[in-house]
């Protein structure tokens, strides 16, 4: 979806700051030749991947990129709200599709209500649609267009904000950068999955260095490394220190160097 725009945004972000890693490793689901329901779910999963896997810092985290944009008047609150709502809608659909949806459960019913509202608002038919199961074949197209339109608008807001940031940078205003490091480092710090992957990779390397099987007791290795990180009082501050150096790196590389340094010294 919108691969060209995403590429432009990525380049722009890198111009602003070497460590403004947006859409890093973006790998959208293949939608060539896909239509209707299949297309819809593929788009949902792709968008979800952006917000939750690639860039939790954009909107998922409490303090996120869009709150930063609002704070520095790069976008309006309404625009930020739009992105947040879009993210939530994506999450509802993804969650509905991927989970069991026992209607006895509180959050499941809330999620179902939200989905129901979206479906009825977008499809607009004479009867009430209760769940995606009731969407007619011909109506999926409307839902796909809805997602595409919102995705495009979200990218537009993001681009507008980044343009504004660039302008401020050109004017010599750097407060926003500092604030960004805080947000970014927090997001990286909270990204447990990324951390676990890196620690596992470190264990694997150590195993190979000692001629052991690559996967030997990785779980315990991670646990011990986490113990060391706790001892060394690992926090988002470590990441900020690293980011301030300004070296061009991916999120993975930044986290790897921070963790490796703490563990090996």
């Amino acid at each position: 979806m919108e691969n060209k725009t995403i590429l432009e945004i990525t380049k722009l972000a890198k111009k602003i700051d070497a460590n403004l890693n947006l859409f890093e490793g973006y790998n959208p689901k293949n939608i060539a030749g896909k239509k209707d329901e299949i297309l819809f779910w593929r788009e949902i999963v792709t968008a979800y991947g952006i917000f939750c896997d690639i860039d939790r810092v954009q909107i998922k985290e409490n303090k996120n990129l869009f709150t930063l944009f609002v704070k520095f008047n790069l976008i309006t609150i309404k625009e930020k709200q739009f992105v947040l709502t879009f993210y939530r809608e994506i999450s509802y659909f993804r969650s509905w599709f991927c989970h069991n949806n026992n209607s006895e459960l509180y959050y499941v019913t809330r999620k179902a209500d939200n989905i129901k509202n979206i479906l009825n608002e977008v499809i607009k038919v004479e009867y009430e649609i209760n769940s995606p199961e009731e969407v007619r074949e011909k109506d999926w197209d409307k839902l796909c267009s809805y997602i595409k339109m919102k995705f495009s608008k979200y990218l537009g807001i993001l681009k507008k904000a980044l343009d504004g940031w660039m302008n401020k940078k050109n004017e010599g205003i750097t407060e926003i950068d500092k604030e960004w490091y805080k947000i970014y480092s927090n997001a990286l710090f909270n990204d447990n999955e990324l951390k676990q992957n890196i620690l596992a990779e470190m264990c694997k390397y150590e195993n190979i260095n000692w001629g052991r099987k690559a996967d030997y007791n990785i779980g315990t290795g991670i646990k011990l490394y986490e113990g060391t990180l706790l001892e060394k009082k690992y926090s988002s501050e470590n990441i900020i220190t690293y980011l301030e150096n300004g070296k061009k790196m991916t999120s993975y590389a930044i986290m790897y160097h921070v963790l490796e340094k703490l563990i090996s010294t």
């Binding site: 990779e201 694997k204 390397y205 190979i208 260095n209 000692w210 001629g211 099987k213 690559a214 996967d215 007791n217 990785i218 779980g219 315990t220 646990k223 011990l224 113990g227 690293y242 150096n245 070296k247 991916t250 993975y252 590389a253 790897y256 160097h257 490796e260 340094k261 090996s264």
Partner: protein, 1119 residues
């Protein structure tokens, strides 16, 4: 604390000590990869619970059963501390006392094994034997504050014994049980996250003849268990398992560069980290061509020869991967140059105990299994290049596997022969002859040092895979070009780049350019050669790691005296490791720590992270440390400007710090010292001119070891004798009396040691070496004293023949023997005695020519033969003595005349008899040997009988007894066969089968006797005669070829047979031949040209051939 224990378990040997309470231990605990388990329970169920797919359990009940591989995880030693006994009420006090002392003995041994490194985990129980008092007694000898013993489930209070050890920092106790420790720290990762299928856990997958089909073959992991310590069967998982994220490429590339010297880094080939050297294509082509020739006679093995630093190890692994990926031939990679594939013979009280090499049998079984899975050939690659006669080991292994009928091809490595060294002295010739004879047995490929496009490849890897900027590479090349010969320069710069980029990140060092980095590194390493800052880089790293491990704290609080001591220990440590590594020898980790004078578990972990050192484990599971490559070690020694004398000083330090390791039989430290002394010693033509100024010092130190420390390690004493002989005995500038005095001393030491060996036992190889060394000294003494005492020579020669009896491949024994014969002959004045000596010499020559082609083919041997045969020419007077000698009961005169006539007529038992004149000479000799006048003495002469046998054969068959190839046809009348049988029968009547199958003539006569029986249709007698030949698999291990086919008038005799059984997998079976009555004969399916192997099938027109072990049924052509 437990984190620390867990971490230690990753790097140290771990032993479990448990009593009856083993029943409470979870499977997770019991299935852990223990290095050893010791227990007081006699319960046999314990070993059943310990058994799993990744190890074999070996029960040990007494300290004498403790083997070299005591800590081998794959061959887990379960030490039954009670010696298999059970504590019951009926035991007397004395019996209990005996048991307790056995427990103490065994535990003391265990403690000695882990004294320098290793930990023991104990699950506490109220054991009546394993009391806290006993625990204190045993463990108090461990170093304080090293926490090597951990007791779990420990709830006692006020136990003075344990408390004492806790205070000393020897024991750590935990209240919780081992189960909970394991639950907490050993997560079931494999079970939860391992998505391998069940079958993948139990087998490995590889390709056999799958070039077109891609079909995968599975081999059970159980079959690989016994070879895992020394070899690896290449398989799909091995090459594909490790997935490397892009950002880790440079980190793994560095690991690849560093660890490839230690063992193949298989992931690297998948990711293209290997730089292909120019000679690799030739290596590959030759290997391919030889693989397609497997099964053909004389398919020579391939030897990759080259200097150190030519990338042989990486090239071999690359070859392995390439052949594997072609999916046709399975590949076995042997990475351990020291592995013993040979029969080990223990010598004690004049008795021999044979121990088969488990490794050889395991390898043989695996190859057989691969063949059964359809492999047309198996490629074995053995990275052997070391100074320890690697080529010879490979030759023996290759021959031994061929002898077992395995379809293999073998590639190995060796250091280049140094041909440019001045060659002087006789002992040099002998060594060279042995080496050159051996090298001729190989096809060769030369690993060249010249760099062609390797730099371009390196740049591609660095730039494309490791993200290096172009200018950075240019910068490295710029530095490299300053010292172009020294490619390590380039290498370490690469290391720095790879390290800098990854581990230092934004920190200070990373911002320094390479030039600045050099300045940054401190200069206190006492390396005087300014240009050689490679080692400063390396040593800065080593020192940083040692400081980090808390070993060297150069802070202010240490008094300067102490600092100096630390500096010296550190220097000694690195220098000694460097001297060993220069000769590709690895230092046992415990030994290295002793030199460093510190014991700390952190060192091993930290040193392993440096680019300079590598730590790996030997086949017994013990850690060893070395500098990455011999080239780097040598460059370090040069950079430190260490003279030969200083290197000798290192060896002296090692000798003084050496432990004999008698505790558990490996003698690793003594073996290392012996190897070093031998390599630099007077018999090594490459090194003797470098190190000879320090030989006297070595002799002094070895003497000191014997006299001051009463250490009589046979291999070291043997070296001492060699050194004394070569340094003092052969030194013509020393007064004769002094030389004699020294030689007498050497002989005295040898005799004393041989006497000790009689009682204490040793391997036959060591004993043989010692006998030969002693004989050489004695011989030199004889020369100097011009001795003519025949008793003395007789004893000397008897000793040497005994050596040859035990090891028919011992070239030095033959050489010394021939030299002894010649010396005695030269010193002898009495003509009659001279003739007898000549007969004895010629007999040995015949013996060697018959059986030991390796030695017979050597130039040295042939020169000796020419010299000895030249004596015949001078013996014109012999004919006058024939009768006199015969009257005295000696056939020497007759033999010498016969031999002279044969030699004059250029008649060789190995060649066809062509031409009338040769025929006439043979007849003439035949007449002489069968002359009634001499009948009695000729019958009693081994030499005459052997000559007679060959003459009768040649006169009647024309073709020689043994030809090239196999399946030979004969053409002799029944009467001749009877004549031959008579000669054989007479031989056994007079000489019998000598003890333990060793004199080769016996086997030869026995075989010909069996053949005569078969020819004369006495088939049962034929089978039993062959049974008497014990297959000498220990040394010769010749392939069991079919020699002669049973023939009538030059045409093979035909038989009919009925199939008894057939094994599809082995493609072999047994067939009943009426003439052989109850003895079913062996056949190989494809040899019979039929597809019907059903039991009871009758097959006609079969032929039978004889080998040294049994008759074999074949069909020479399709009918």
């Amino acid at each position: 604390m437990k984190n620390n224990l867990y971490a230690r378990m990753q790097y140290e040997k771990v032993i479990l000590l448990v009593g009856d309470n083993y029943k409470c231990l979870s499977n997770k605990v019991l299935n852990y990869d223990w290095n050893m388990v010791a227990t007081t329970t006699p319960d046999s169920n314990f070993s059943i619970r310990l058994d799993n797919d990744s190890r074999i359990i070996r029960e040990i009940e007494s300290k004498n059963d403790m083997q070299d591989n005591l800590l081998n995880k794959k061959n887990l030693h379960l030490i039954r501390l009670l010696g298999g006994k059970e504590i019951t009420d009926s035991l007397t006090e004395l019996e209990i006392d005996d048991i307790s002392s056995n427990v103490l003995d065994l535990l003391t041994r265990i403690v000695s094994v882990i004294k320098e490194t290793g930990i023991i985990l104990i699950e506490n129980s109220n054991d009546t034997i394993l009391t806290s008092k006993l625990i204190r007694n045993v463990f108090k000898s461990l170093y304080e504050n090293q926490s090597q013993v951990y007791i779990f489930n420990y709830t006692n209070s006020d136990d003075i014994y344990i408390d004492d050890l806790i205070k000393k920092g020897i024991i750590t106790v935990y209240k919780e049980s081992l189960n909970s420790f394991f639950d907490e720290y050993f997560l079931d990762y494999d079970e939860e996250n391992n998505d391998d299928e069940e079958s993948d856990k139990k087998s490995v997958k590889l390709y056999i003849n799958a070039e077109k089909t891609n079909q995968v073959t599975s081999i059970s992991k159980r079959e690989l268990l016994e070879i895992e310590n020394f070899a690896i069967l290449l398989n799909i998982n091995l090459l594909k398992t490790v997935k490397i994220p892009k950002m880790f490429y440079s980190k793994y590339f560095e690991l690849f560069l560093k660890n490839s010297a230690k063992e193949p880094q298989w992931y690297g080939y998948e990711y293209g980290f290997n730089i292909t050297r120019s000679y690799e294509e030739e290596l590959y082509q030759k290997t391919q061509s030889h693989l397609s020739n497997v099964g053909k006679v004389d398919n020579k093995q391939l030897l990759l020869e080259g200097q150190t630093g030519t990338g042989k190890s990486i090239a071999l692994a690359a070859l392995a991967v390439k052949i594997f990926n072609e999916r046709k031939y399975p590949v076995i990679f042997i990475n351990n140059p020291e592995i013993n594939f040979y029969l080990e013979i223990e010598y004690k009280h004049k008795n021999l105990t044979k121990k088969w090499s488990q490794s050889f049998n395991a390898l043989d079984r695996l190859i057989k299994s691969l063949e059964n899975n359809g492999a047309k050939a198996v490629l074995i690659i053995w990275d052997t290049s070391s100074y320890n006669s690697g080529a010879e080991k490979c030759y023996r292994l290759y021959q031994a596997l061929l002898a077992r009928g395995r379809k293999i091809f073998m590639v190995s490595t060796s250091y280049e022969n140094c041909n440019n060294i001045t060659n002087t002295g006789e002992s040099d010739d002998e060594n060279n002859a042995a080496q050159e004879t051996l090298i001729e047995k190989f096809d060769k490929c030369k690993a060249k040092i010249e760099i062609t496009n390797e730099l371009i490849q390196l740049r591609d890897i660095l730039e494309q895979k490791c993200g290096m900027e172009k200018n950075e590479f240019d910068n490295i090349i710029k530095i490299y070009k300053k010292e172009k010969k020294n490619f390590l320069y380039l290498f370490y710069q690469v290391f720095r780049f790879l390290r800098k980029d990854l581990s230092n990140g934004v920190y200070k060092e990373a911002n320094l350019s390479l030039d600045e980095l050099e300045k940054f590194i401190s200069t206190d390493f006492r390396i005087h050669n300014e240009s050689n800052n490679v080692f400063r880089i390396a040593f800065k790293e080593v020192e940083d790691k040692l400081i980090k491990a808390g070993i060297i704290n150069l802070g202010k609080e240490i008094p300067s005296e102490e600092k100096e001591k630390i500096r010296i220990s550190k220097e000694n440590f690195v220098k000694c490791v460097a001297v060993c590594s220069k000769f590709k020898l690895k230092m046992p980790y415990d030994f290295a720590l002793r030199l460093l004078k510190v014991y700390d578990q952190e060192i091993i972990k930290e040193l392993s992270k440096t680019s300079f050192f590598v730590i790996d484990d030997d086949e017994y599971g013990n850690y060893e440390i070395s500098i990455r490559t011999p080239l780097e070690a040598d460059m370090f020694l040069q950079a430190k400007e260490m003279s030969a004398m200083e290197q000798i000083d290192c060896i002296k330090i090692m000798l003084s710090e050496m432990k004999t390791g008698g505790e558990y039989g490996q003698c690793r430290e003594a073996k290392l010292c012996e190897s070093l002394i031998r390599i630099i010693g007077p018999n090594n033509r490459s090194n003797k001119y470098t190190y000879n100024s320090g030989y006297k010092e070595i002799i002094g130190q070895l003497e000191n070891l014997r006299i001051e420390r009463n250490i009589w390690v046979p291999i070291l004493v043997s070296q001492e004798i060699t050194y004394i002989r070569e340094v003092y005995g052969r030194n013509k500038r020393t007064e004769k009396d002094k030389r004699i005095e020294w030689l007498k001393k050497a002989i005295e030491i040898a005799d004393e040691l041989l006497e000790k060996i009689e009682k204490e036992g040793t391997t036959i190889g060591t004993r043989n070496a010692l006998v030969v060394e002693a004989a050489n000294s004695k011989l030199l003494l004889c020369e100097l004293q011009e001795t003519t005492d025949d008793f003395y020579y007789r004893e000397l020669k008897r000793n040497l023949l005994e050596v040859i009896k035990y090891d028919s491949q011992d070239f030095h024994a033959y050489v010394t023997f021939l030299k002894a014969c010649r010396t005695e002959y030269a010193n002898e004045q009495d003509d009659l005695k001279k003739i007898k000596l000549l007969e004895a010499m010629c007999l040995r020559i015949d013996e060697i020519l018959l059986e030991n082609t390796d030695i017979a083919d050597s130039e040295y041997f042939q020169t000796q033969v020419t010299n000895i045969y030249a004596y015949l020419k001078n013996e014109n007077i012999v004919e006058n003595y024939i009768d006199e000698l015969a009257d005295n009961g000696s056939a020497s005169g007759i033999y010498v005349v016969a031999r002279k006539r044969l030699n004059d007529g250029k008649i060789d038992f190995k060649h066809e008899l062509k031409g009338d004149s040769k025929y006439e000479i043979c007849e003439n000799v035949y007449d002489l040997l069968t002359n009634k006048k001499y009948k009695q003495v000729v019958v009693e002469s081994e030499a005459c009988q052997y000559t007679l046998l060959n003459i009768v054969w040649l006169l009647n068959n024309k073709k020689p007894m043994y030809e090239d190839g196999e399946c030979w046809k004969t053409n002799m009348e029944e009467e001749v066969w009877r004549k031959l049988l008579n000669i054989c029968n007479n031989y056994f009547l007079h000489f019998g089968m000598k003890q333990s199958n060793v004199y080769k003539f016996d086997r030869n006569f026995k075989y010909i006797q069996a053949l005569c029986f078969a020819q004369l249709k006495q088939y049962d007698a034929c089978v039993s005669a062959l049974k008497e030949i014990e297959e000498d698999s220990s040394m010769g291990m010749k392939r069991i070829y079919v020699k002669h086919l049973i023939c009538d008038n030059g045409i093979t005799r035909k038989f009919n047979g009925k199939i008894i059984n057939y094994n599809e997998t082995d493609r072999s079976g047994k067939i009943a031949i009426e003439e052989f009555r109850r003895t079913p004969l062996y056949f190989f399916g494809p040899n019979l040209y039929t597809s019907n192997f059903k039991k009871g099938t009758i097959i006609k027109n079969l032929e039978i051939g004889l080998s040294f072990i049994s008759p074999k049924v074949i069909k020479s052509e399709r009918v």
